[in-house]
């Protein structure tokens, strides 16, 4: 989802229900803003080049130094 398809309160409601959150119209408006901000953050991360950096899932905090 990009900035060109904004998250409206109706979209937020669908997303919230998909997450099994209780329905609440006031919440939908607030969540729409939160969801949009979260997507922008994630989009910035996807723009990072991580091709040669593998996360060590079995030893997540082993130290190279």
């Amino acid at each position: 989802m990009s900035d060109s398809s904004p998250i409206t309160p109706d979209v937020a409601r669908v997303l919230a229900e998909w997450s099994e959150l209780r329905a609440d119209r006031t919440r939908d408006t607030e969540l729409a803003e939160v969801f949009a901000a979260f997507r922008r953050r994630v989009e910035r991360l996807y723009a990072m080049d991580v091709g040669s950096f593998e996360f060590d899932f079995l030893h997540p905090m082993s130290h190279e130094s």
């Binding site: 959150l21 209780r22 953050r41 910035r44 991360l45 991580v50 996360f55």
Partner: protein, 471 residues
């Protein structure tokens, strides 16, 4: 001892008096409890004051010291715990309504180690709800205040711990740090806060926010005191899967007043890009001081570090949303507005989002490990801004508006992603009288080197001697 005498007392200073029996733990503890009673109505640094327990522990400490059964530098010293450390038989709320009545059946490992060292617990401190924010403006237990300037935040999430240490309501506290929650309030309240290497201090019994980013550590008036507390709580714990099997050197022996032979790196980008001019001036002056102490100072580049805040944010909130999921679905009304809203938002992260964040994290860790081949420590501001007014989620900075949460954690979060040790030590005050912290960040398990640099600077600068006025 009068409650006012507590203001300038350190663990090392009080320890000498206690051991020589020139001061009793009962006197010290009573003075501390009196000061809490006098000030905490204003500061809101505590959620629970454990006066009866403290007096019983102090009595016992005095008996033992009289029999020459001295346990060490924490024996008889009044301390506090962020209310996220489990305490057997004493409620542990995490600053939340959800856990408002939670009474653990066992102590956290760090709690037990402090008790074993003879420390006296005077209370459990206020925090940002569930340790998930930087203001410590807690909707359930009150708005914690900055002792240097009422009406300003103490930082967070360990805001009550920092306010308590700064105001002399306990000689040390244990905080927790997921994106900066020890160092941000230490910086804002003019005290020392050390986030140890990941795995050095067991997390057993510290209520989690984010498993791969959470660290427990000391908050104290001085670097030497931080070394004393860290020495007491560090060490392997088989019940914590992330606990490291590493032997910590004698930290106090590592503290020297000079920096001969120490290579200091100053980041050439990101760390000084979004910053209050007064903070930059004080930090640059501190770096000059390190040079005078014998350190060699070089500029370093850290490729990818500009993604640190986004990476930390996604990892931390995704892990937190997993921990909170059941409560979010069944008790959403019991969360404060900011934490509840962000946790609900984090339920929407995809597994692929989390994995991308972890790969960016791997890139940042790689960059830092390369930097630490060239230098021993990195130094920077702990926070780009001093404490901000209570109730403000955004503040002006130069010609833009910045989020207090984002800018507060912008620099500290790097060491959470890498698991490396980082310490905030006071490096001066703004014209408005607000403290500023210098961050010293080192390679994994080089906590002694980080504390050495912080100590040498602290001794040369003397900022620790300054105390909040009017309290």
């Amino acid at each position: 001892m009068s409650p006012d005498d507590l203001r300038s007392l350190t663990i090392t200073g009080a320890g000498r008096l206690l051991r020589a029996r020139k001061l009793s733990s009962m006197e010290l503890t009573r003075a501390c409890l009196d000061r809490i009673q006098q000030l905490d109505g204003t500061l809101k640094a505590f959620i629970t004051v454990t006066a009866d327990l403290a007096l019983a522990q102090a009595r016992r400490a005095d008996r033992e010291i009289a029999k020459r059964a001295y346990r060490g530098p924490l024996h008889g010293i009044p301390v506090t715990l962020k209310d996220i450390y489990c305490t057997r038989g004493i409620r542990t709320t995490a600053g939340s309504r959800i856990l408002g009545d939670f009474v653990p059946s066992a102590d956290a490992t760090a709690t037990a180690r402090l008790a074993e060292a003879g420390a006296v617990l005077v209370g459990k401190t206020n925090l940002h709800e569930f340790a998930a924010g930087v203001t410590s403006d807690n909707p359930h237990f009150g708005t914690c205040q900055n002792p240097w300037k009422l009406g300003y935040i103490p930082g967070g999430s360990s805001g009550g711990s920092a306010a308590a240490v700064a105001a002399g309501l306990g000689l040390a506290s244990l905080g927790s740090d997921t994106g900066g929650s020890i160092r941000i309030p230490a910086s804002f309240c003019g005290i020392v806060g050390h986030k140890p290497t990941y795995g050095l201090v067991p997390r057993t019994g510290i209520l989690p926010e984010s498993w791969s980013l959470d660290h427990g550590g000391p908050m104290t008036r001085t670097v030497a005191d931080a070394a004393v507390v860290l020495q007491a709580i560090a060490g392997h714990d088989a019940r914590d899967p992330s606990s490291a099997r590493v032997r910590l050197p004698r930290l106090q022996r590592a503290l020297r007043p000079d920096l001969e032979g120490v290579r200091v790196g100053v980041p050439s980008h990101y760390y000084f890009d979004v910053i209050d001019p007064e903070v930059e001036r004080l930090v640059r002056a501190a770096i000059d001081e390190l040079r005078k102490l014998g350190a060699s100072v070089v500029e370093v580049k850290i490729p990818g570090v500009e993604a640190a805040l986004d990476t930390c944010f996604v990892v931390a909130w995704a892990e937190a949303a997993h921990y909170h999921r059941e409560w979010l679905l069944t008790r959403p009304q019991d969360y404060g507005a900011d934490v509840g809203g962000l946790l609900k938002g984090a339920l929407l992260y995809l597994a692929t989002d989390y994995l991308q964040a972890q790969r960016v994290r791997a890139r940042i860790r790689h960059s830092l490990s390369e930097v630490f081949r060239r230098v021993d420590v990195l130094v920077s501001p702990a926070t780009p801004l001093p404490a901000t007014p209570i109730g403000r989620l955004e503040v002006p900075l130069k010609s833009r508006t910045v989020s207090v949460l984002d800018v507060g954690a912008r620099l500290t979060c790097v060491a959470n992603l890498t698991g490396e040790p980082a310490c905030s030590v006071p490096c001066g005050f703004t014209r408005a009288g607000l403290p500023v912290g210098l961050m010293v960040h080192g390679r994994a398990f080089a906590d002694a080197k980080v504390l050495r640099v912080a100590y040498a600077y602290e001794q040369a600068s003397g900022w620790t001697a300054r105390l909040p006025g009017g309290l």
